[in-house]
Symmetry: C2
Subunit: 397 residues, 2 copies
């Protein structure tokens, strides 16, 4: 292992070696969670016409004689129909929410504020009838040509509705990176099999695939290989030369154990890693190889321990995927609910729980399997040897 | 419209009429985001054996003579292999992280703290060698039979890894409710078509489907119908008598306009709604019909305005779906970043933005299309006529 670097240095090296992916077209119905690659702009004003905002009648406030307040209803302006014209004089047109305001009208009086008797609308005493009342003016939300959504925007419910409203039924989004996960370990068996006393069921792929696909951060394939250097070399060679792979994730095999073949074999097949070993706990043995050509993957070699896997996924792999996809990518910050002391020369990457905008740190009870993370919301970064007070903000992943 | 009820009364009436859905089996790979219908318990102790936590050697601290510190290495205990036995005397066995601790060993010394010379391990001066050192004891995380995940748990990365670790490759989850959405409005056209001056493209289905499917809250189908009472009655009849439909959502057609056919037709086909009209802004015309038999859907009739749709979806529909699915379902609370005054006799359901654990209220700039929600995180509930100070907590949806 090389000399340990800091988490900030590791983040920096990874960021400098992060390749952007290209883009592809998806239909609106399949665009949820994807990241916009180009801007979406308005094809026309919004609203596209002076839009009636209440069911009622429209009048022209300049037409009525003071004190009279009685309008002959000469028709109905429905939503979706051609715009009518309000004649000069004490006339009204019935209007529906969403309808275009008839030409020469300037005020809408809600149906609750009038009586309709024998074809005449009689507004109640004392109600308001102002210029532009209950009218949503053409172009007041946006003008034709305005940028509505910018590249890098993640498309959620609201953005998809905006895209639909301007007819963007095919959308250019960033391509999902292709990720290949290789788990290692002789003691690891398929979850559907019955373990002997000294085996355990494979759980990393379930967690890693869920993290990536639930956030639409990539398309992932997985395989497992036992601690046999020949087999590992075969699998690595095949993963490294598959031009489809943007990212290769490995779990285990990078510590100093006798059967830790992953790091030595990657060094043999490629070169020394960009770094191997970060001054953090957990996740210290983490190693990273930058992509060395357009067709070779970026490699994240994670330690094999579950909490280390989750910590390094949250701190390094998920932010890298977000960056490749062009997403805005700042860790959020929340204040500590209570004091927390961390007496280690290594940066702590520790699970936290958040509640009403504050966090509490929950160090794993033991060497840390997935059970110890139950109920936590992510990982907080704690500086080495720190004595943190309630109210201090911590970066969260 | 009936007399207005409060948001609390509306929530209460809906909750009392919320039917639970049944359960179904899904495979582990498809279980992300689903809600557990039964508990998942441990099939054996975790860890299943005294587990070595570091690469190094194991010894028995009671075997060594004070001051000697020299152990003959008699073999290697690999992960996944049968447990070896450490002989009495000054012997050591090489061990790998994740391996079972050999019988009669009680301490692991990390490889960084020893030298290995001619088949002997020589621990460095002054290092620790305690009983149980770097050993993760059998059953210390959980015992066979312990409940690891309880019904109502939403399955995310960590829970799926826990399920995999106990061999739960098929999981009983609550069934996704079948939801049918009918949008109405003569002015509304398909997003792929070109609107005339007085038409607008349909955007509610994009938003509503994204809200529901992204959170795994249901399976949704959609259709649109123009403001023609015969057509609407046909579509309603067919949706009401389809035994597959658990929930019917309608948008528009429930105000007091001349072409608002939805509410009168539902009254004709069913009965008076449980309520129609809530003292809130936006979303006042919202109406609700409880399911009146096992085969008839619960009906949410939402106003047609985009911000009203999103407000009533967040306040009523999404929490109902979560409850049907058996999810824990408390609105979260966050404090205001700045003072906010709300001068209305109606409860405000207003968009907010959250930043570092605090929220700011962003009332829509205008009658409220989807653009006005851009960058907001959900809806806060603001009491009528309230003068809120920075730091006060508000319930968020």
């Amino acid at each position: 292992m090389q000399p340990l670097i800091t988490t900030a240095e590791a983040t920096q090296i990874i960021a400098e070696n992060c390749l952007r992916v290209g883009s592809e077209m998806v239909i609106l119905e399949n665009a949820y969670g994807r990241v916009l690659a180009t801007e979406i702009s308005a094809d026309r004003d919004a609203p596209p016409f002076d839009r009636v905002m209440m069911d009622g009648i429209c009048i022209n406030t300049y037409n009525h004689k003071l004190g009279s307040w009685r309008y002959q209803i000469i028709g109905t302006q429905a939503a979706g129909a051609e715009k009518m014209t309000l004649p000069k004089g004490e006339y009204a047109i019935e209007v529906m929410t969403g309808a275009p305001l008839p030409a020469d009208a300037n005020c809408v009086i809600p149906v609750e504020q009038i009586d309709i008797i024998d074809g005449y609308a009689l507004p109640h005493d004392g109600i308001a009838a102002e210029d532009n009342q209950h009218i949503h003016p053409k172009g007041s939300d946006s003008k034709a040509g305005d940028t509505l959504l910018t590249p890098g925007t993640t498309l959620t419910a609201n953005e998809l509705a905006i895209a639909a409203s301007v007819g963007a039924t095919e959308i250019e989004v960033t391509r999902l990176p292709k990720i290949h996960l290789i788990t290692t370990g002789d003691e690891i068996i398929d979850p559907s099999n019955s373990p002997t006393d000294y085996q355990i069921r494979r759980s990393h792929p379930s967690a890693i695939c869920a993290l990536i696909t639930s956030q639409q951060l990539g398309n992932i394939t997985t395989e497992h290989v036992n601690d046999d250097p020949k087999l590992i070399e075969q699998k690595l060679t095949s993963a490294l030369t598959d031009p489809e792979n943007d990212i290769l994730i490995l779990t285990g095999g990078i510590s100093m154990g006798k059967f830790d073949w992953v790091a030595p074999l990657l060094e043999k097949l490629l070169s020394k890693p960009a770094f191997h070993g970060v001054a953090q706990r957990p996740g210290k043995p983490f190693a990273f190889w930058a992509s060395n050509s357009e067709n070779s993957p970026t490699i994240f070699a994670l330690p094999g321990n579950p909490v280390s896997v989750m910590a390094t996924m949250h701190l390094y792999v998920l932010p890298t995927l977000r960056k490749m996809l062009g997403k805005n990518n700042q860790p959020k910050n929340l204040p500590l609910a209570e004091d927390f002391s961390w007496d280690s020369p290594l940066t702590g990457i520790l699970p936290y729980r958040s509640n009403n905008g504050k966090i509490t740190i929950h160090p794993p009870r033991n060497s840390g399997d997935y059970l110890s993370l139950q109920g936590t919301n992510g990982f907080a970064e704690i500086p080495p040897h720190s004595d943190l007070k309630a109210g201090e903000n911590l970066p969260l992943y």
